[in-house]
Amino acid sequence: MRFEIEKGSFAYGERGIFKEISFSLEGGEILAVLGPNGCGKTTLLRCITGLLKLADGKVLLDGQSMTGDKTQWQKMAYVPQLHTLPPSYSVREMVTLGRSAHIGLFGTPSAHDREIVQRAVDEMGIDSLSDKRCDRLSGGELQTVMIARALAAEPSVLILDEPESGLDFRNQELMLSIIRRLSEKGMIVIFNTHFPQNALATAHKALLMSRDEAPVYGAVREVITADNIRHSFGVDVLITDIEHNGRIYSTVTAVK
């Protein structure tokens, strides 16, 4: 499994959003996309998924161009940020919608589909929620449901737009651990984040976007550096490693 973007560029009319972005990911790799507000992180994700068309460049899955139709969405899943309250479907109904790309236009979910839905529900540990209405869930619960729905498509590439935004501390950690767990199973995961520390804790690779300059891409520790963050965000930071029980934890602290 290999997912790559080659010299991808996008512009809204005259206004260029990003230019010549390239990266390449193998199965099990996690890419974190960072950058200041308005630099085009979500636009980049939407271009990767084909929801927006790149002005220039290519997105390749296993060397093949993305088709934009059902067959693409059998291999790729996207969890957008939710801006409105979801419809009042039950959690199970919502997760079942993830099977859409595998079901014919006039079809309805089969027993086989329901089995896969159950697996996604178990994987995310939301079986106890499955009869609850989606519009009555907490933010953290809803985000897990959205990821379960994405998993129901059985994708090999999972793309998440700010999965841990707006969640409390515990739920943020939960999201990051979910991402790590999925990558350990061989999935390629791409996620946007506002937190350099989360990128360091989770991702293998990072893409740091800036508003007017070329993005920086590479191994996460080479990209998330004090210099690069000052450049991109205009904030001075201190990156320190703390050892605890034989593991290294990195913290990113803004300093004056």
């Binding site: 957008p80 801006h83 409105t84 479907y89 039950s90 109904e93 790309a101």
Partner: protein
């Protein structure tokens, strides 16, 4: 919705139909109307009057009421899903107004029933197209509904114009009464022309019922579930418009049902299209048959059906909304 409710939902309209055939000025009991209905099969010697009342007078309009009720309810549920808007109804796209104008125009020029239906259909679908053109490429929910409002008011003005130039002695009352809605003109001949289109539209919505849940999500979510959002949305809109135009051409404007029945269905079985559509079809048929039976039996003269659906539907709807608010 559980599978075991399906037989009940299927049977309910038939039972209602049999009961309704027995009710009226010429009263026939439930058992008697059952015997009359199956007279041909069982060789039962029905009274000539009863046979004629059941088969020639009541049955066509009961059939029409059932299909119009089922169709408009399914169309309402479809529009509400497509626009993710609980207030979207067959009137939202201006289809009902367009079809009304077409039919009024046909009546003004004195064309026959078939001509009226075709004209209503043409103008109903044109109104739908016009709305989609006005909404433009982005097809966002608000622009579609605003476009529908504009188209609707244009056609309402045109209907008023038709009424203004109509002969006040015979054409004007005919058009006015027709706009208020009535099943009285139903005949097997008119059913043969109009019903296939209602059945076609309803069948498409029924087959696509699971897709309705996806189309109600945000644009990006729906697309990322691997669905051709534009195509499915267009199919829903065309099917629902087809139903609306056929209904309007056959029995005038019948309000409220496209709003009321899908809401009741959602309260019974949750908001998934998998249950809302079958429930709406079944309950819509039952509701409309009861309304029409009331319309023809409550007073010596017939009450226009849109007056009844509004007088009964609106308070029912308000009560349902209040109950739901209390629960949440």
């Amino acid at each position: 919705m559980k599978k075991r409710y399906l037989p009940i939902l299927t049977l309910l309209p038939f039972i209602t139909a049999v009961i309704c055939t027995g009710i009226g000025r010429y009263s026939i009991g439930f058992a008697e109307s059952l015997s009359v209905l199956f007279a041909r099969l069982t060789g039962y010697e029905a009274a000539k009057n009863a046979y004629s009342v059941v088969w020639n007078i009541r049955m066509p309009r009961i059939i029409l009421a059932a299909f119009v009720g089922a169709g408009l309810s399914a169309a309402g549920a479809a529009f509400q899903g497509v626009f993710s808007n609980a207030l979207a109804t067959p009137d939202t796209l201006g289809v009902a107004s367009g079809a009304s104008f077409g039919a009024a125009l046909a009546m003004l020029t004195g064309s026959a029933l078939f001509g009226t239906q075709v004209t209503a259909l043409i103008f109903g679908c044109s109104a739908c197209l016009l709305t989609m053109v006005i909404a433009g490429r982005d097809r966002s929910v608000s622009s579609v509904i605003l476009g529908g409002m504009a188209v609707s008011s244009v056609f309402q003005a045109l209907v008023a114009l038709v009424k203004y130039v109509a002969d006040p002695v015979d054409e004007l009352p005919a058009i006015t009464y027709w706009l208020m809605g009535s099943m009285a003109r139903a005949s097997y001949k008119s059913l043969a022309v109009g019903l296939p289109l209602i059945v076609l539209g309803t069948a498409v919505i029924f087959l696509l019922r699971w897709r309705l849940d996806i189309i109600a999500l945000s644009e990006d979510e729906a697309a990322s579930l691997g669905m051709n959002v534009g195509l499915v949305r267009a199919v829903f809109i065309i099917a629902a418009s087809l139903i609306t135009a056929s209904c309007v051409s056959m029995c005038g404007q019948v309000g409220w049902i496209g709003l009321l029945v899908p809401h009741i269905s959602r309260m019974i079985g949750g908001s998934s299209g998998k249950s809302v559509i079958p429930l709406s079809i079944s309950l819509g048929a039952v509701f409309m048959m009861i309304m029409d039976t009331l319309a023809r039996t409550m007073t010596a003269a017939e009450i226009p059906i849109s007056i009844l659906t509004a007088l009964i539907g609106a308070p029912m709807f308000i009560a349902l909304l209040r109950r739901r608010r209390d629960r949440t």
